[in-house]
């Protein structure tokens, strides 16, 4: 078994130094994804404007795969069209769980494709992407840092 395929350097780097690992001061969408079987958590905060993901961040805890995947998601999504990210997310899940091989525009997400050979870990890799889908379906309302809102 080649562990290097799963724990590529880029994955370990993202898990140890997660990008966009804050709570946005202003966000329009958010959702928390939780896997009760393994305890992985990913909380996404998204500020969307006119169909564009202006800013996106996350908080969470869990294994290297789940947190790296969330970190890569935020890095990729920032400034992109919502539909582009939704499309990538759907194809990413498809590549891992079905026999699809359409990995166009996957960028750093390519590093997570090794998970395909670890069926028990696929849910870790897809958690952030499921959470993204859930977040964009959430109430479209501006949240601010003001707790008395």
């Amino acid at each position: 078994m080649d562990l290097g395929e799963l724990y590529q350097e880029i994955i370990i780097d993202h898990s140890k130094n997660p990008r966009n690992h804050v709570v946005l001061e202003n966000y329009t969408h958010e959702a928390e994804g939780y896997n009760p079987l393994c305890g992985d958590k990913v909380h996404l905060y998204i500020n969307m404007d006119n169909g564009i993901v202006e800013k996106i961040s996350f908080q969470g805890c869990g294994c290297a795969i789940s947190q790296a995947s969330a970190s890569i998601l935020t890095q990729m999504a920032s400034g992109k069209k919502l539909e582009t990210i939704v499309d990538i997310g759907e194809r990413f899940r498809d590549v891992l769980t079905n026999n699809s091989s359409n990995t166009d525009d996957f960028e750093s997400l390519d590093a997570l494709l090794g998970v395909k050979n670890y069926p028990m870990r696929i849910k870790c890799a897809t958690l952030a992407w499921h959470t993204f889908t859930e977040a964009i379906g959430s109430c479209n309302k501006l949240h601010t840092g003001d707790k008395n809102e």
Binding site: L3, I12, C38, C63
Partner: protein
């Protein structure tokens, strides 16, 4: 046996009893360190189940033919073996269930709902498995009873002083785990039961981890209810035991109803069978009970002296080697006289699931997660741990392989 054979020979013999241990996982010899989740099965248990289905598969207690008689005798004799194994006063005090979870649910449903009232108190502990928390929460909601919790100290043991303070005239039930599935701590259940009885409270002991760990004497412990899990003591899954005192079982209502648990049925009224049948509605897990009976034979043929010697030496060796790794934290295990070889640990900078995957690549099977003990994980301040649990078929070399694996985890994430 231990006096005649060298310990190495005993170990080799035991290993050869468990066929799965000869397989390879990811190119390495399997090192199975997940026996607290489920033990592997010796060939004799596998054979007993196959023999039943091959030669005398039949329903029990209701067929006059030869196969029916053979199956009934085998099922009843499994119950008698279990009763002797835990030193029950009466064979009829042994109820076959799906496992500990069902046994606890049975008590919660049939005893708890009848006897617990608004304001009564149920004492549990922070190291309980979810199976000994959730059934009581449901009953507490229904009856208005209140759950009190004995905390676990930083050393991974129950805070007995706190327990004594919790006990009062309001205490109606104390329900505790005998051996922690997460920490390996052996709780002083006899003393706990004695103290509860001073207040007239009933006592349930969850013995899920005990069948393969130590001799059990339910009369000596003197709990009202004691549960066993078959698949954690070399038996098949889907079978376990509830032991309860005869007078309690007789006055409790049935848990499930249907065939097999009745005396007379008409559409107005039904009279129930005597114990144990009253609590075994429907066709029971016949092959499971027979397999579990064979597992008991296996344990007794090995003998507790041999089993305890192997486990204690694995414990000592394991705790010494694990403690000396820089970069891991071992939970519990400050009191080495009262532990079984179950080690929960955290590896610095490496999440337990990544630990489990890296170890698996070396053929080592460990559990990663909350071990159905979320309250205990909160106490430790971690979402999850990795757990290595050893059984009689493990060796010191398995400990060495584990240590090597943990060092590899540290290296990969350094």
């Amino acid at each position: 046996m231990s006096k005649v054979m060298s310990s190495l020979a005993v170990n080799t013999k035991i290993q050869s009893d468990f066929p799965v241990l000869s397989r390879e996982v990811n190119g390495s010899k399997l090192v199975y360190l997940d026996s607290a989740a489920t033990t592997q099965k010796p060939q004799c248990v596998i054979d007993a189940i196959t023999h039943f289905y091959t030669n005398y598969n039949s329903n029990i207690h209701r067929s006059a033919h030869t196969l029916g008689a053979e199956a009934s005798i085998a099922y009843d004799s499994a119950r008698a073996k279990l009763a002797k194994f835990i030193n029950a006063k009466h064979t009829s005090e042994v109820i076959f269930t799906k496992g500990c979870t069902e046994a606890i649910n049975l008590v919660a449903y049939s005893w708890g709902r009848k006897h617990l009232k608004n304001g009564d108190e149920i004492i549990l502990s922070e190291m309980e498995h979810h199976a000994n928390i959730v059934p009581w929460q449901v009953v507490a909601k229904e009856t208005g009873a209140i759950i009190k919790v004995v905390p676990v100290t930083v050393d991974g043991i129950l805070d007995l002083r706190y327990y004594k303070d919790l006990l009062s005239e309001k205490t109606k039930l104390v329900s505790l785990i005998h051996v922690s599935n997460t920490l390996g701590t052996i709780n002083p259940v006899k003393e706990i039961a004695r103290l509860a009885k001073n207040y007239g409270a009933k006592v349930l002991i969850d013995g899920a981890q005990c069948g393969a760990a130590m001799p059990i004497d339910v009369q000596d412990i003197d709990a009202d209810f004691y549960t066993l899990s078959g698949h954690k003591m070399y038996g098949p899954t889907g079978i376990g035991v509830l032991h309860a005192k005869k007078n309690l079982l007789e006055e409790m209502d049935p848990y499930q109803t249907g065939g097999g648990m009745i005396k007379l049925v008409d559409f107005n009224e039904t009279s129930y069978a005597d114990i144990p049948n009253k609590f075994e509605a429907g066709t029971p897990h016949i092959s499971g009970a027979i397999g579990l009976g064979k597992a008991v034979d296996y344990i007794q043929e090995l003998g507790w002296e041999t089993i305890l010697e192997i486990k204690q030496s694995l414990y000592q060796y394991g705790v010494n080697r694990l403690k000396n790794i820089d970069g891991i934290k071992l939970f519990g295990h400050k009191d080495e006289d009262t532990s079984v070889p179950v080690f929960s640990f955290a590896v610095d900078g490496v999440h337990p699931h990544d630990v489990a995957t890296i170890l698996d690549s070396m053929g080592i099977a460990v559990r990663a997660g909350h071990h159905c003990c979320q309250p205990l994980m909160r106490n430790f301040g971690v979402p999850a741990t990795a757990r290595a649990s050893f059984s009689i078929y493990n060796t010191k070399e398995d400990v060495d392989v584990l240590v090597e694996g943990i060092k590899k985890c540290l290296e990969m994430f350094s």
